[in-house]
Amino acid sequence: MTIHIKNGLLIDPTGSCESKTDVFTEGNLVVGIGKPPPGFKPEQTIDAKGHWVIPGLVDGQARLREPGQTLKADIASETRAAIKNGITSLCIPPDTQPEIDNSAVVDLIHHRNAKAGNRCHIYTIGAFSRALEGEHLANMASLKANGCIAFSNAGRPFINNLVQRRAMEYAAGEGMLVIIQPRDDDLYADGCAHESAVSTRLGLPAIPEAAETAALAKDIELVGQTGARTHFGQLSCARSVDMIRQAKANGLPVSADCAMHQLFLTDHDIGEFDTNKLTIPPLRSQSDKRALREGLADGTIDSICSDHQPHEADAKLRPFPSAEPGISTFDTLLPLAIRLVEENVLSMPEVIAKLSIAPARILGLPAGQIALGELADIVIIDPDVHWLCSGRNFSSRGKNTAFEGWDFNAQVLHTLVAGQVVYSAQPG
């Protein structure tokens, strides 16, 4: 298959530029930018006049709920939702059921993705420890051989710091990336909301800032000790941004991301016990939100993830402390990214970079850019479509949005994965 994408505004996150440039693909690769290779005959032409052409988005953390919780969502439903929203590479954390602590589960996930038509690339993050119990190391080398791109304990605790140190050392020896969601379970206790005037007023068990930062301080020390290349996921606190900035200044091999919703929502959005705003880590304060945005702009925060967590309706139809945490975020990832540009946090190429080339480089994925010889994962967007966000209309099976009623811009028109058009919007 050869495709000519013409007249579009190419947003190149590597060169930080926007220009009217045609793109040519053949097979699964990009074969021409600006001008076609000699003898190129397009079998399909996509007119992108007035539209944006961006690399397919790379999501470093998304739960598809399969295997184990297919009541909530599954690989077929969520990959369909992903491509409809411009996401072409997904990384699954190891807390599936069963956990990604053995090669059979890795194979199962890829098998299910193939059965669903391989609409988008799925990458698995292996478990650090067996069943994520934090006690015995998982067979990391075998998992790596089976395609796991990194190792993580998915926010679950190690039984002690020694096991964590050993896990990080072992991963470093295998040359593998370590992913950590810094979390001190004792300080988390049974908390469900950021510790602040809001949790005090609502009488909600509170999660202090130190539940993240105390763990992060220890984790950074262990990076220094073990030399393990470490990515910190879903940071929520201003103080965490400072600590990462300092760790980078000290030359430690660290990177960091935050979830898109942390850049827009705060603890005040809980309102009167809105369970769609229940997240882990919790929605923090206005100043935390501001610091995350600053960290994003100055490069301390390298990338943004969706932290997609689709739920069935019943999971949220409970009193706040008993509801399940997490937001269904595939459908709002791209429009919120555009809002970051509208709110002058980042330029368009910068925000696309945070969602494509940056996570791809950290995770070592062949994705995230539109360049000669690279995989043709390409998304074409109409920036002039305005729509009102409603969970009911989500393409994800999870309707649990925290952005009900928000006004958004932009719609995905076409998504190409490895040179194949896997999604096209219905005209009109």
Binding site: T200, P205, R318, P319, F320, S322
Partner: protein
């Protein structure tokens, strides 16, 4: 949905009673005035009025309660309601039925009003959001959030003894962190324009930014009690002693227990209150609890009138008709 939208109908009348926060001074005053008319009912030989005749009230206690449940039941009986009381920890939710299904099953039995106590903060709002229009929810305590009828009976007791809130200094002593009563009391005292609200507690029993509720903090009981008109002691749950929150009952009593000597620092006519059940010798000395400044038993009695008032306001009739 904001609490005030949920609790008040389009005419500003009470349709649910979930939290003091979100209400206004007018409604609180109306509750106190209406409760006053019911106090005379409860003093009559035949203590019944027909305000809730033909209505069915379900008391759902997902958490144990003696005093609140029995005063709600008496209030309902005196308003002539039909009553269904469920101690739900022994009921369907244990079998895995969701809270929402429990609500809908009870609604199918034509319940008009739910009185609910549940361990989760926000559970009363949750119920109110999911019942059918026309069905009302009264919060009998949701987690660590609010216990609004308790706060209103406390306000009734204070007004009974002190009349004007705008001149009062009120001290609330003890476990603010875990206390839904304290949160409701603070909101109510502020709405009634209390001159000064003090909160006296060890740091481990104080949630962050407590000042943001509109109170002044004291670490020291003796300083905090100086010249106050009302002392509200909070119950210290025994299980709190087991964790790292407090070293021991003895040390707590030494630091924060109310003794006659300490009470003497308050105004001579200061009253002592406690929402119960009290731990004698832990937060309050027996002689103070039984002493002549204590109004603790009165509070219990007023609880019936206040709960009658709230329920009668919700069904839309005035207390004056009731006392005729």
């Amino acid at each position: 949905m904001p609490a005030n939208n949920l609790q008040l109908d389009e005419n500003g009348k009470l349709q649910h009673f979930l939290s003091i926060e979100g209400l206004n001074q007018k409604i609180l005053t109306e509750i106190l005035d209406t409760a006053g008319t019911f106090t005379s009912v409860t003093d009559r030989v035949i203590k019944k009025v027909p305000i809730l005749r033909g209505k069915t009230v379900a008391n759902l206690f997902f958490e144990a309660s003696t005093r609140t449940r029995s005063t709600f039941e008496l209030a309902e009986q005196r308003l002539s309601a039909d009553i269904l009381t469920l101690n739900v920890d022994t009921s369907a939710t244990v079998k895995g039925e969701s809270l929402l299904d429990t609500i809908h099953n009870l609604e199918a039995m034509q319940i008009d009003m739910f009185v609910i106590r549940h361990k989760d903060s926000g559970s009363a709002h949750f119920f109110a959001q999911h019942v059918r229009p026309g069905v009302s929810v009264l919060n009998a305590g949701d987690g660590q959030h609010e216990h609004p009828t308790q706060a209103m009976l406390d306000m009734y007791t204070i007004r009974h003894h002190k009349q004007d809130f705008t001149r009062l200094r009120v001290a609330i002593v003890g476990d603010i962190m875990h206390s839904r009563v304290a949160r409701s009391q603070i909101h109510a005292l502020n709405l009634l324009n209390t001159a000064e609200i003090r909160v006296i507690a060890p740091r481990t029993l104080l949630p962050v930014d407590t000042e943001s509720l509109g109170v002044q903090l004291y670490d020291d009981l003796e300083q905090g009690l100086l010249d106050v008109d009302v002392v509200i002691m909070l119950r210290l749950q025994k299980e709190r002693m087991r964790g790292a929150l407090l070293p021991s009952e003895k040390e707590y009593f030494n630091q924060f227990g109310l003794t006659q000597e300490r009470l003497n620092r308050a105004k001579p006519d200061a009253i002592v209150m406690h929402p119960g059940p009290a731990n004698r010798g832990v937060e309050i000395e027996s002689s103070v609890m039984d002493g002549n400044q204590s109004v603790i038993l009165q509070q219990v009695g007023f609880g019936i009138s206040v709960r009658m008032a709230v329920m009668s306001m919700i069904v839309g009739r005035s207390g004056l008709q009731a006392s005729e």
